[in-house]
Every structure is written in structure tokens, then in C-alpha cells.
Point group: C2
Chain length 335, copies 2
């Protein structure tokens, strides 16, 4: 397996990328193809990788900046590191592409270089939310701020493939994110999507709210990219607030400090639940190539975890399975 890694993606690039590439090459024995400014990367890589783990450099002279308009610069900066990496993927020189760069940039480059899986209307960004019982795949979490009912139906199809083959959930339960559990609740988009999901043959369990999502009552939750993004970032932020306030109060007196020390195993147990870096990267489902987008704040550990997610996608043949699931529906619709 060969994973292509954008060396210029994360906020602190390229250090985290260099470390993650060398570590992944060592751990998995896979070739990691690191894409970015060769003159910057070459000396650092040589210093980091004296034993010559299989990391190959591919030069990309341009970098997508956070201030770049994604759609415009995906074309204008034709040789940005994402573009070069995705061209390698398209040419079959790698099996998956991983970046911690701008999501909009990744989507624009992916649409331009790789295109969509045949029949897919809009690719979606999918991530796993921790729940009381494991994980729930939520999509779209930010690729499409405006959606149509047919997009959400396809998100449900693609999310189900993801949950079944990457999380190992047979016949995944699909929920529609809404402002009330009752059928009939929702904004116009939700109300128009409900009957499509009901008739889809998927394991649709109806509208869900935060309670059902975090309670583990759904395996896949579909929503538009605006709402999904607000929910994701809101959940992360409220958890961070809670943990920070708790920490502050735990450090406030010798008594609570001792308590915190004794209770440490309980706090450790929370870590997996809280740590976005455990999850590593979100796949762009619907793109004709395996593209995984990690958090801009990723460190080497998070990027390693992103590479792990990409490897899992390759191993489980995610791309083919998505194509098959979408094609089956196109055929059904034509009949």
C-alpha cells in the first residue's frame, strides 16, 4: 500500500507531516509519498530518517494558504501540494491521499483533479462522533453549506457504506438530524428528505436529535454541511469548555488536586472520547479517489492516525464499495 501525504497541509507544516511520514513508513512498512517543497523537505527528511524508511519525496512548488479562495486557487495554483498529490493518486502511484489542509481547498482540488464517483451529486465530508455505544458517522460536516434532499439521500447511502465496512456495523441505522424526533419536524430540507429516506430501503430510523446521536441510537446521521459543521464545532467547543473549567477547579486546592490524582484513571478513560486526534481524518465521500482530510491543528500523532484511517479505507476497498452502492441506486432508479 502507498499513502500520499500532503506535506504542506497542517497549521505547523511540514514538521508534523515529516514526523508522521517517517513513523508511518516504519510502523506499516508502506511507502509514504510526501508531497511539497522539495528544497524544504529534503534536508529535514534526511535528518529524521537516517535508517531510510520508505518515504519518497515528490516536489510541489506551490502551497494552498488559508487565505486562498479554494475554488479559484485550486486552478490558479495548479501545482499546489494537494493538486500534485491528487494527480499522483489519479495516476495510480498511490492508494489514498491524506491532507491536514483547508477542507474547502481539498474539496475544490479533489473535484477538479479526481472528479466524482459516477452518479454522485455532491461529495460529503464524513466524520465519526463518539457515542455512548461507540461511534456514529455524521455527514456532511462541511463540504456543502447548501444541500438538496437528493444530496442527503446519497449521503445516507455513502454513510451506510462507511459504517458497514469501516466501522463493521451490519445494516446501519440511519437518522436524519432535525429539531425534533417526530416525523414532520424539521426545516424545509429535512421535511423533503424524510420521505426519500423512508422509501430508500436503507435502515432509516427517522428524525434524530443530539440525544439520539450521542446516545448511540443511530450509526449514520445525515445533515447538510452547514448544520453538521455547526454541530461538530459546537460539540467540540462545549466539551473543551467543560474540561477546562473542571481542570481549573481540580487544581484549585490541595484536596481537589489529590482527588484528581486518585481519579486519574477515570479522566484517562475520557480521553478517547474527547480527542479529535483519535479519529484522525474525515474521508471526502463521493470523490473518485480516497481523500482524507485531517484537522488543521493536527500534530504528528494525529496525522499518523489520519494515515491509519486512510489505510483502513484502502484495505476495506471503500472506493469500490461506494461506487457499487451508488451505481445500484442509479440502476434501480432507471428501471
Amino acid at each position: 500500500m502507498r499513502i500520499i501525504l500532503d506535506a504542506m497541509g497542517s497549521d505547523r507544516h511540514p514538521e508534523p507531516e515529516l514526523h508522521a511520514a517517517v513513523e508511518a513508513a516504519r510502523q506499516f512498512g508502506d511507502e509514504i509519498i510526501l508531497v511539497g517543497k522539495e528544497e524544504v523537505l529534503r534536508p529535514r527528511l534526511e535528518a529524521l530518517n537516517p535508517d531510510g524508511a520508505p518515504v519518497r519525496l515528490v516536489h510541489a512548488p506551490e502551497v494552498l494558504e488559508m487565505t486562498d479562495k479554494p475554488a479559484r486557487s485550486a486552478r490558479a495554483k495548479a501545482r499546489n501540494s494537494m493538486a500534485v498529490g491528487m494527480e499522483l493518486l489519479k495516476a495510480g502511484e498511490g492508494d489514498a491521499f491524506v491532507t491536514a489542509g483547508n477542507t474547502g481547498g481539498a474539496m475544490a482540488n479533489a473535484l477538479f483533479r479526481l472528479g466524482r464517483i459516477r452518479g454522485v451529486k455532491r461529495p460529503a465530508l464524513a466524520t465519526r462522533f463518539p457515542t455512548r455505544k461507540g461511534y456514529c458517522v455524521v455527514l456532511d460536516i462541511g463540504a456543502n453549506a447548501e444541500c438538496k434532499p437528493e444530496y442527503l439521500l446519497q449521503f445516507a447511502v455513502m454513510g451506510s457504506v462507511y459504517a458497514e465496512h469501516l466501522l463493521g456495523v451490519p445494516n446501519p441505522r440511519v437518522g436524519l438530524l432535525s429539531n425534533g424526533e417526530e416525523a414532520g419536524k424539521g426545516n424545509d430540507l429535512v421535511k423533503a428528505t424524510y420521505p426519500l429516506l423512508e422509501a430508500s430501503g436503507l435502515n432509516f430510523i427517522g428524525n434524530v436529535e443530539g440525544k439520539e446521536l450521542f446516545g448511540g441510537e443511530a450509526d449514520v446521521v445525515v445533515t447538510d454541511g452547514f448544520t453538521g459543521n455547526v454541530l461538530l464545532k459546537g460539540s467540540e467547543a462545549v466539551v473543551r469548555l467543560l474540561v477546562d473549567v473542571l481542570k481549573e477547579h481540580l487544581m484549585a486546592s490541595p484536596r481537589t488536586k489529590l482527588g484528581a490524582l486518585l481519579a486519574k484513571p477515570a479522566f484517562e478513560a475520557l480521553k478517547g472520547l474527547l480527542d479529535p486526534e483519535e479519529i484522525g481524518a474525515a474521508p471526502l465521500l463521493g470523490i473518485n479517489g480516497l481523500v482524507f482530510v485531517g484537522h488543521g491543528r493536527s500534530d504528528a500523532r494525529a496525522l499518523l492516525s489520519a494515515i491509519r484511517a486512510a489505510r483502513q479505507g484502502v484495505e476495506n476497498d471503500l472506493l469500490t464499495r461506494l461506487g457499487t452502492a451508488i451505481a445500484a441506486r442509479l440502476t434501480a432508479a432507471e428501471e
Copy 2:
């Protein structure tokens, strides 16, 4: 001051309402007007209130059920407890109305019985979110699943009045909830609302995400009722998940149990942050009368806190201030 309380609102009505009414009458010395089925309420009230704190019963023969369609039943059940209570408010027999019943039902009844403040396009449900620095008023959290930019502009005006006069924040900072902080991010509604807020003369700080909201960087955050509701319920649910998992692990061994005991003051400090009952009730801003909607799961303590919120609204002349702020904008627009 006289507060009118819907006796048939909460999930476990009327017990929490009866207890809250008697307790409020005792604590504040105000008359509480309790509206509901007299034959049910009378004997229980007499048993609870032997010293005759000022609680008056007003009979309402019908009850809005969760299964009722709000708009239809607000009319069909003309003598439901919310309708009767709001008619009392309109007639000047009370200063504010409090219910823990269905939000949709409260809104439908309020629109039908009390109408809107002159110039208000859509009333909004507002609540306070806890933040790193205090509270942030978020609206709409569920009254209007579909919104237009002009509604959000008015939400910002009304939310600013709320923050200034009920939370004591001079010149409140107004944020627009979006899927990215940068101007230009957002769905169509956000993009169209941004210039209106920029030109509004309000203290508009731009787009905000969960990080800014929970970080206390805005005093008012405006959004459509669908997104606001998803954010509110999602935040509540993820916090509940976190607390439950932590509790479970704290109880897992004698060592962690002891740690939890010692660290108790730190956990206590979190309570105010976590407890939706601390906040009590959300006002329906824009209705021509002070209407506060509490959580269906409210117990007596939560309802007491809801009554307290309503009293604060009366004391600070919230209704007049909202009317003045909206009227000033109407006049400005006409000039």
C-alpha cells in the same frame, strides 16, 4: 407583580407546577395565578398550601398534549391552559406567563392570543448558553425552522436588548453563527444576513463558531431556529454523555471513588455550567406579552427558576424595551 403559571405544561404536570407556585408565592410574596383543570388542582393546592400563600387558581378545561399539532390545536382547543393563561396576561391580570409546555404550542397560542410586537416579523425563542466568561444569548433556538435575513437582523436587535437589560452587558457583541469565522463563509442565509448586521449599527463582530460562542467572545449569537435547536440539543447531549461516562469511571474502583469524593468541590462547580434548570426558561422575544417557555422535563426547582426569569423580565421592563428598539428601527427605515 403577578406571574401566571401554566399548571399543565411540564411532562409531570401538575405536581412540579403546584410546588413551584406555592414556593414562589412564599418566596417572592407575589400572587401566582395557576391555570389548569380546577378539579385536579384545587385539592392538591389546598393540601400543599395550608398557610395560604397567594396562589390563585383559574380554570382551563383543556390541555395541549405533545401529540397535538400546535397551530391547529391552539385554535381548536380554545380553552387550553396556555390560551387561558395568555388571555389573562392580555387582560392585564398578570405581568408575565410561564409554561413548561410544548414550545410550538406556546408560540402558536402566543401568536394567536397576544400577537407580535408592532414591526416584529417573527418572534424568536432565546436562551442563555454558559460560556467561559458568563452567558451568551442565543436565538432563535427553535421557533422558526426557516428564516429570512431580515428575521435574523431583528433577532440580533431583540437579543441585544435581552443581553443589555437582563444580563447587564453594555453594547453587547453580536455574532452570526456560521461554519467558519471568515466573512463570506456560511450558507445562503448567513451570507445574506452578514451585510444587514454589518450595516445595523449593532456591535456586530462577524461570523462565529462554537469556539467563540462557548469561549465567551460574543454576548448575542443569532441563527435560524433549526440550527439553533440542533446546536442547543447537541451541546446538552454531548455534555450529558461526557458526565455520564466520567461518573461511571469514577465509580469503577475504590481508588477513583475516593478521588471523586475529594474532588467533589470541583464537580460541584461544574453544576451551574451544566444544569439547564439553572437557566429556567427561555423568553419568546417579539410576542406582545412576556411569555417564558421552560423545559418539558422541568421539576419544581426548574419552574421556580423559570418564574424568577419571568420576574426579572418584568422588573427590567423587557417588553417595552423590545418595543422601543424595534420601533426605532422602523422609524429609521422609514426616514
